[in-house]
Subunit: 484 residues, 2 copies
C-alpha cells in the first residue's frame, strides 16, 4: 500500500505537473476545451476570476487617465502589412475571413458562398496596433490631443497548434492599451508606468511575485523598440510572462501616419506604446498557488472569498441554521466580502471537498452546535485543517478582512520563497549548461553579455531555454529559463 | 434671411432625420465608421455609455441568478446547420473563416496561405445558441442542474450591406443570455421575466418608454417558438426593437441534445430561452432624446452627469477657482455623481457648446463672482438656458441627485408624450393604407386578425411597414409601423 496521503487531484504536481494543471482546472470547474480547434470555453467560476481581474485593473487604468473604447474585430490585410516586423510576427497565426455568406453545396452541406467571396480578405485581430494606429492618425492633430491613452477589453485570435487552456489558446480575452505621446521620454516613461501597474496588480491582487525586466532583442514584440515584461516563476520552475508593456518608438506612428503639430509648430510623428494582460493570468494563478488538493484562490480575486456550509443533521434545525447564516452573510456583505453558501442537497463532506478544489480561501461551517453557542467554525484553504478554529460570529465578522489579507500574504510568501530558492547565479555558459543538464527547475541568472554567440543559442535550443528578461534592477544580468 | 434659430446640429431633425442622427453622433464624438466594411469604431464617450449600460444590467441579471461565462467566437458549420430555421435565418450574413495563416503571394502581397486552408470552415458567431447548446448538453445531466442561466457579453457579427452606426453594423457588442429549464411553464415564465428586466432597464435607466409585446410568427427569431420584444418609438415615428427574449421550446434542446434526468427519473429534453440587448440601444438613446443642438444623455447612463466649466477671466484667479471646484467635486463624488471638469485651454463658449452637444445633463459654471458669493450657476440640458439658476454649493450638493432624477423624468415624459400622440387606432386595412399614404409617422394599432392575407402583405411591402408586436396588455391587437 502507498504511504502517500490521498490527494484530491490525481496526478500530483510532482508526478505530472502538466496533467495536474488540467485536472485542477477540471476539478475547480473553471474552463474546458471547446469544440473549436485550439479554443476554450470559460465556465462561470473561471469567468468570475476574469471579471474580478477586469474590475480591479480597469479602475487602476482609469486612475492613470486611460479611456476605454472599441475597435473592429477584423483587420484589413493592408493594415497588418504596414509594419514589416509586425506582419512577420503575426502572419503565421492569423485566422482569415474570406467570405460573407454561406450556401448549400452540391452535397446539401453548407459551404462558403462563391458569390460572396471578399475582394480583400480580413484577419481576426491578433492584436490591434495597426487598426488603432489608423484611428489615432485621424484623431490626433496637435500636441493638445496628446497624450492619448486608449484601451480595449476584447477577444483576440492567434492560431495555436499546441493549445493549453488559459496559457495558449487560439482565442483569448485580454486588454490592450495603446498610448501616444509627444516625445520619446514621455513614451518610455509611460511604458515603465504601465509595467509597474501590472507588477503591482500581480503582486497586490494576484499574490504573484514578479521580476520586472526588459526583453532581449530576440524576444521583443514584433515592431517594438523596447519590450518590458513581468516574469513569474510557476511551481515547476518554469517562467510565465504575465504582462508586457512595449515602447514602439515611431515605428507604428510612421507606418500608420500618426502625425501631430508640435508645440514648436512643426509636424512630428508621435511616439506610441502598447501594453496587455490576458486570461493567461488565470493559468498563472493556478500554477502559482494551487496544490495537490486543487485550486487556492488569492482572496482579492476569489469569486467566493468566504464559503459557508450549513451542517444540518435533522430537518427541524434547517430554518434556525439558515436564518443564523443569513445574519452572518449580511454582516459579511456589508463589508463587501463575497460570500457563497452551499445549501445544495449534497453531503457535507462533498461540499467541503468541493470548496477545497475550487480554492475558496476561507470556509465556514455552521451547524446546530454553533447556533446554540453563537459561534462558527472556520478553516483557511492555504493552511488546511490545522487552521480550523471557532469564534463568535461578531469576532469573525470583525476579523474576516484581516484573515483574508493574511491568506494573501501567505500565498505571496510561499510563491516568493519558492522562486527565490530556485534562482541560481551562473558565471559562464558551461555552468548554465551543466545546471539544466541536471534537470534544474528554475531560473539561471548570469551576465547579459553571455547571450551573444552561437554557444548560447545551442544550449538554449537544446534545453528549451529562453532569455526571460534583463531585470530592471540589474540590467547587466539576464534571467534564463524554460517558459510557458 | 432665415427666421430659424440657429441650431448646433445641421441639418435639424425635421430637415433630414437620418443625417441629423449621424451628425449628433459626430458632434458628441461617440463613434465613427471603421475602415472595415460595415463596422464601427466606438469612441471613448460612446463606449462609456455602453459601460454604464453593462454595469447596470449586469448587476440586474446577477440578481436574477444568471452567471456570466465565455464561449468561442468561432462556430463550426456543422453546429449552425443543426437547427433548420436558425441556419436559414443566419447563413446569408455570416463572416466565414477559411484559413489560419497568411503568406506572401506572387505579387508580394499577403494572401491566405493555400496550405493553411481549414478542412471545415468556421463562422464568426452571429449569435451563440448552437455552441452554448452544445456546452449545455455536456453540463446538464439531471433536473438538479436546472435551471441553468448563462450569459456572455461579447461581440457578434452579421454581415450588413446597408450599415448604420449603432443601429445596424456588421459587428456589434451585446449580451446574450441562454437559460435552460425543466419544463415549458418555467421557460415561458422566464422569457417574460427577462423581457420585464429589459423593459424596466429601458424605462428606468434609459428613460425610453417601451411597448412590451410578442412578435407575430413572421417576425420571430429563427428557431424560436415565441419571441417577446420591447418596441420603442423614435422621434421620427419609426419603431426600434430595443431588446428581445425568446422561448425556444425544445427546438435547440433537440438539435443540441440537451437532455436531463427528470424528477420522475425519465430522460427529457430541456426547454431553453435566449435573450439579448446590444449597442443598438445607444442608437435608441440618441433618436429618443437628442435635439437639434445635439445629444441629451439620460442621467443614469450619462458618462458625465455634471459638467463643470471654470470661467477664468484672469490667470490670478485660477488657483482660487480651481480649489473651489475641487471642493465641489469632492462633495459630488462622495454621492457617486459622475463629474467632468473642462479645464482645457479653449474658450468658455466653446466648452459650453461642447457639453451641450455631448448632452451632459447638468452644466455648472463657476467664475470669480461665484467664488466670492459661495455660489454656482447651473443649467439643465433638457430645459436649456431658461433653467439657468444660481444657488450655494451646499444647496446644489444637497439637491443634485433630485435634479438628475427630474431630468430623467422629463426625458421619459417627453418620449412618452410623443409616442402616445403618434399611435393611431385603425379599424381596417383601408384605413391603415390611407394613414401611411398620408406619410403618417407613427404606429398604427389594429386587430391582429387583419394581418392574415395578401392585402396586408401588399400594404406593408408598399409602405415598408412591419408588424412590430402584439402588445402583452392587448394581445388581440397588433402594432404596425416603419422600423429601424
Amino acid at each position: 500500500m502507498s504511504k502517500k496521503a490521498k490527494t484530491a487531484i490525481t496526478p500530483t504536481r510532482e508526478e505530472n505537473f502538466p496533467e495536474w494543471y488540467q485536472q485542477v482546472i477540471k476539478a475547480a470547474d473553471m474552463a474546458e476545451n471547446a469544440p473549436v480547434r485550439g479554443c476554450m470555453t470559460i465556465k462561470p467560476y473561471g469567468y468570475a476570476v476574469w471579471e474580478n481581474m477586469q474590475r480591479i485593473f480597469d479602475d487602476r487604468i482609469k486612475e492613470l487617465g486611460v479611456q476605454n473604447a472599441y475597435f473592429p474585430l477584423l483587420i484589413p490585410l493592408e493594415f497588418i502589412s504596414r509594419e514589416a516586423e509586425h506582419v512577420e510576427g503575426f502572419a503565421k497565426e492569423c485566422a482569415v475571413v474570406t467570405h460573407h455568406r454561406l450556401e448549400a453545396g452540391p452535397d446539401g452541406k453548407l459551404q462558403p458562398a462563391k458569390s460572396a467571396k471578399l475582394e480583400e480578405p480580413y484577419v481576426i485581430r491578433p492584436t490591434s496596433e495597426t487598426i488603432i494606429g489608423d484611428a489615432m492618425a485621424r484623431w490626433i492633430q496637435s500636441y493638445r490631443d496628446l497624450p492619448m491613452k486608449l484601451n480595449q477589453w476584447c477577444n483576440v485570435m492567434r492560431w495555436e497548434m499546441r493549445p493549453r487552456i488559459f496559457l495558449r489558446t487560439s482565442e483569448f480575452l485580454w486588454q490592450e492599451g495603446h498610448n501616444a505621446f509627444e516625445n520619446e521620454e514621455q513614451a518610455r516613461d509611460d511604458t515603465h508606468k504601465m509595467l509597474n501597474a501590472y507588477a503591482e496588480f500581480a503582486e497586490n491582487s494576484l499574490a504573484i511575485p514578479v521580476i520586472r525586466g526588459e526583453k532581449t532583442a530576440d524576444e521583443r514584440f514584433p515592431g517594438a523598440v523596447m519590450t518590458l515584461t513581468i516574469e513569474a516563476m510557476m511551481q515547476d520552475g518554469k517562467a510565465l510572462q504575465a504582462g508586457t508593456s512595449h515602447y514602439l518608438g515611431q515605428n507604428f506612428a510612421k507606418s500608420c501616419e500618426i502625425k501631430f503639430q508640435s508645440r514648436e509648430g512643426v509636424e512630428e510623428y508621435a511616439h506610441t506604446t502598447s501594453w496587455g494582460i490576458s486570461t493567461r493570468l488565470i493559468g498563472a494563478l493556478i500554477m502559482s498557488h494551487a496544490d495537490d488538493d486543487g485550486m487556492i484562490m488569492p482572496p482579492r480575486i476569489a469569486p467566493h472569498q468566504v464559503g459557508i456550509i450549513p451542517i444540518i443533521r435533522n430537518d427541524a434545525d434547517t430554518d434556525e441554521i439558515m436564518s443564523y447564516i443569513d445574519d452572518l452573510v449580511a454582516k459579511l456583505k456589508a463589508q463587501g466580502i463575497r460570500v457563497n453558501i452551499d445549501d445544495s442537497e449534497g453531503r457535507t463532506g462533498d461540499k467541503m471537498w468541493g470548496m477545497i478544489k475550487q480554492g475558496v480561501p476561507l470556509r465556514v461551517e455552521i451547524g446546530g452546535r454553533e447556533v446554540d453557542e453563537g459561534t462558527l467554525t472556520h478553516t483557511r484553504r492555504d493552511l488546511g485543517r490545522d487552521s480550523k478554529a471557532s469564534c463568535s460570529v461578531d469576532e469573525f465578522a470583525g476579523s474576516v478582512q484581516g484573515i483574508l489579507d493574511a491568506i494573501h500574504d501567505e500565498l505571496y510568501r510561499r510563491a516568493q520563497t519558492l522562486r527565490d530558492e530556485n534562482i541560481k547565479d551562473v558565471s559562464g555558459l558551461g555552468e548554465l549548461e551543466a545546471l539544466f543538464k541536471d534537470n534544474f527547475a528554475g531560473f539561471a541568472r548570469m551576465d547579459v553579455a553571455l547571450i551573444e554567440g552561437a554557444d548560447y543559442e545551442r544550449i538554449t535550443k537544446q534545453h528549451s531555454l529562453t532569455s526571460r528578461c534583463m531585470p530592471l534592477d540589474a540590467p547587466d544580468k539576464v534571467i534564463v529559463g524554460k517558459a510557458y
